[in-house]
């Protein structure tokens, strides 16, 4: 029965412990809605035929309500609605209250990716690996604007707010890979802000975690788990790809007039974006996001502040000051870029900041580890 309804209503698989409960109520309400709508439509159709106009001078009696009808009209829907609400709210409280034995994972949303951090490491971008059969509590926050962590198969969703922490939890029931999507509009690539939850059997998970925590690797980005290595292609993961070489469509930040907008066009035309990204990920060259004003560590060991002069210098004569960790492969643009273009580029780079919100210190009264008050 459950399966029939699920398929008729196109619901995704039920991969978490709460999914079934949520869906059952769903079936009841939708069925009632359809039945009521059909009844009302049928009744109206019957009236239209039964009481069709017979002559232009028809008169009709004045019919008024009686108390009984009123009570019925108000009472029946009200009780139904309230009953639904209480069942639903009961489930909702369960969905809002992580069980005491849940493991914690910290989730940071930023334009346009999800970062997962396990206490004691590691970090992971785009893939959240969790064990099956164990509740997982997510503590969410955001670095820039509001995002929303949505896993359709788990029937959970929670906004990630800048400057505050929110929480949600789930317990996966079967191993597999589940799509995570950002559900709160957050800008240009909102529709690509995907990630995936990889649910591993407890043994696989344990093995993976051991591997990650071995030695100094613990603070690093996570590497795939054994089952993933064996069977690679992951549809959800592929979507979490930030390819500046095929920017789909027009770039952000207005197309018209302003200097910064022109800089953006120049950057695309001159091929800067082949090596530089504007979303925080490193590519062949360092990202331009938050570049302006940043302290850059150079290969020579010195640090410089990326001001206008440095930016210009980096374009004209990149070999002079090579950023630590990068190959000196950037071509010199001296004589290639016009002065106006350079100005536009600098202006453009200056606009690339991941919002003022970056400077937030998120703090709040208390952090309550699960279990203890």
């Amino acid at each position: 029965m459950n399966e029939v309804f699920r398929r008729i209503l196109f619901l995704p698989e039920q991969a978490s412990t709460i999914a079934k409960d949520v869906d059952s109520l769903h079936y009841v309400i939708i069925t009632t809605a359809m039945v009521v709508a059909t009844l009302v439509l049928g009744l109206s159709a019957y009236f239209i035929i039964r009481f069709r106009r017979r002559s232009e001078t028809d008169v009709t009696p004045k019919i008024q309500t009686t108390l009984g009808w009123e009570v019925l009209f108000v009472g029946v829907p009200l009780t139904t609605f309230l009953a639904w609400f209480f069942i639903g709210f009961h489930d909702f409280i369960r969905m809002q209250t992580p069980p005491p034995d849940a493991m914690d994972v910290y989730v940071v949303g930023k334009q346009w990716m999800w970062q997962f951090t396990y206490p004691e490491g590691p970090n992971a971008i785009g893939v959240l690996r969790v064990p099956v059969g164990r509740p997982v509590r997510l503590l969410l926050t955001s670095r820039d604007v509001i995002h929303s962590f949505y896993v359709p198969a788990f029937r959970i969703k929670q906004d990630a707010l800048p400057g505050a922490y929110t929480q949600t939890w789930f317990e996966v029931t079967k191993p597999g890979s589940y799509r995570v999507m950002c559900a709160e509009f957050c800008g240009l690539k909102h529709s690509e802000m995907w990630a995936e939850v990889v649910a591993l059997s407890p043994e696989d998970y344990e093995a993976w975690m051991q591997e990650q925590r071995r030695g100094p690797v613990s603070r690093r980005d996570a590497t795939p788990s054994a089952p993933e290595r064996e069977e690679s292609q992951k549809p959800a993961r592929q979507a979490v790809r930030y390819d500046a070489q095929e920017p789909h469509g027009e770039v952000m930040y207005g197309e018209r007039g302003t200097l910064a907008a022109r800089g953006e066009r120049v950057a695309a035309e001159r091929g800067c974006l082949k090596c530089h990204t504007v979303d925080g990920t490193a590519h062949i060259g360092p990202t331009w996001l938050d570049l302006y004003g940043r302290r850059e560590r150079l290969a020579s060991g010195e640090t410089v502040v990326a001001d206008e002069a440095y930016l210009t210098e980096s374009m004209m004569n990149p070999r002079e000051q090579v950023v630590a960790g990068f190959e000196p492969v950037m071509p010199a643009f001296l004589g290639v870029l016009e002065a106006a273009e350079v100005a536009a580029l600098v202006e453009y780079i200056k606009t690339l900041r991941s919002a003022r919100l970056e400077t937030i210190r998120s703090e709040g009264p208390v952090y309550e580890p699960i279990g203890g008050k």
Partner: protein, 540 residues
Amino acid sequence: MNPSAGSSQPEVTYLNHETTVGSWLLTRDHKRIGVMFLVLVILALLLGGVFAMVLRIELLTPGPTIISAMTYNRMFTLHGVTMVWLFMIPAIPSAFGNFVLPIMLGAKDVAFPRLNLASVYIYVAGAALTLFGMLWSGADTGWTFYTPYSTTSPTAVTPILMGVFVIGFSTIITGLNFITTVHTLRAPGMHWSRIPLFVWALYGTSVIQVVATPVLGMVLLLVFFERVLGVGIFDPSRGGDPVLFQHMFWFYSHPAVYIMVLPAMGVITEVVCAFSRKNIFGYKMIAVSTFGIAFVGFFSWGHHMFVSGQSTFGSGFFGVLSMLVAIFTAIKIFNWVATMYGGSIDLRVPLLYVLGFIFLLIFGGMTGVAVATTSLDVHWHDTYFIVAHFHYIMVGAVLMAFLAALHYWWPKMFGRVYPERWSFLSAITIIFGFIVTFLPQFLLGNLGMPRRYYQYPAEMQWLHVLSTAGASLLAFGFGLIAIYLLWSLRYGPESTPNPWGSRGYEWHSGSPPAPHNFTQAPRFEREVHDYTVPEAPRVY
């Protein structure tokens, strides 16, 4: 054609007593103002519809189709802004309300005709500012303007915010005018218990407009200040709380959905009575439930914020109160259906739209109740299920009511009859097209398709294609209406004063009415929609 023969049309009507352009632009006649608003909102509908079609075409394929992601984001924002503030909120009150409310009350005009004219120009100014923003570079925040995205978005959010802010004043003025008119300008015989239900609906709407719109105005102003001056009231890095913005926004925008639906319900009441030739079943219940919606509607705004980080207590509070608002709508639906019982029903186009309205409203409303059930909303929030929910109400119900009103009052406003067959054809196209457009969106939402998505997983494509096909049908239906109505303005047969044989009070004046509505002072001697006697109301 109907028993109102004998009463004659006025020779001089509001349309022909002065015909210069100036006499229209500077008119204080509520009827002309209503007609001007009608033209303006239909243009807005057209604009919003064009944006909608762009959205639908883009969504034909999972990847990029015709526009870029940035343009897509602008499109749904502009679609939402245009449809909500430029079209739907002023649509029924400012156009039809302005036209018939004073006539229904037996008044010569609204209380403050000059303010009424001002509201047209304020609307035009606001709309112009919004359009300017759209042309400049659009906005990509969604119609909800959530901070901190809206305060940092590099697009032209500012002029659009200010445009909406300005339009707000037009709404407030209209509301203020209607309330005052109802209180002070009722003709002899117009007791409180005789006020037509359309007027009651507008009265309830006006209360919401006056109370809620300033709140929207200020919250938009706050975003404006933050963008332009950096005052940072919602800025998390200064300790601000973005969720507070959502409270303030929805405190307006939830009641605003009732600003849209209440006048529509008023229209439905009038049309059901007129075409069933029946006194309304449960006058008091409908009037009371109007105010129930208007009042309790203010208590449920937080149901848009179940997953926003709002407290569990808050979600429970708003959830249970949403259930209470829903009841009042249910009451009305039962009363409309019950009105048909024992009537003398003539299935004309307005009544067909009413049937569409009732059926789709139940669906939209019941899915509203479903999303107000907190646990279910977690899955549905910000998916196409929500998109389908509100289009069921706003397009399926309110737009149908708008069309019902347009057809019902068309002869009243312009003294012409429209072609019956064409109108049936387009009504059926629209209802069918609507279902094909938006039913798949419920399923998409269930599947987990988030809204405001430019790209989507490929397995969802066929549902999107279906939806786009339906939208094309819808657009075709609207185009048809536009054509035959324009045709009828010029070539349609002239109408009798009361072509439907309705006993609504507005039919006491001619069709089209005389410049000051009545050639003699009207007296209201019978209940509104009293069909226990065979003759139609006399025309003053």
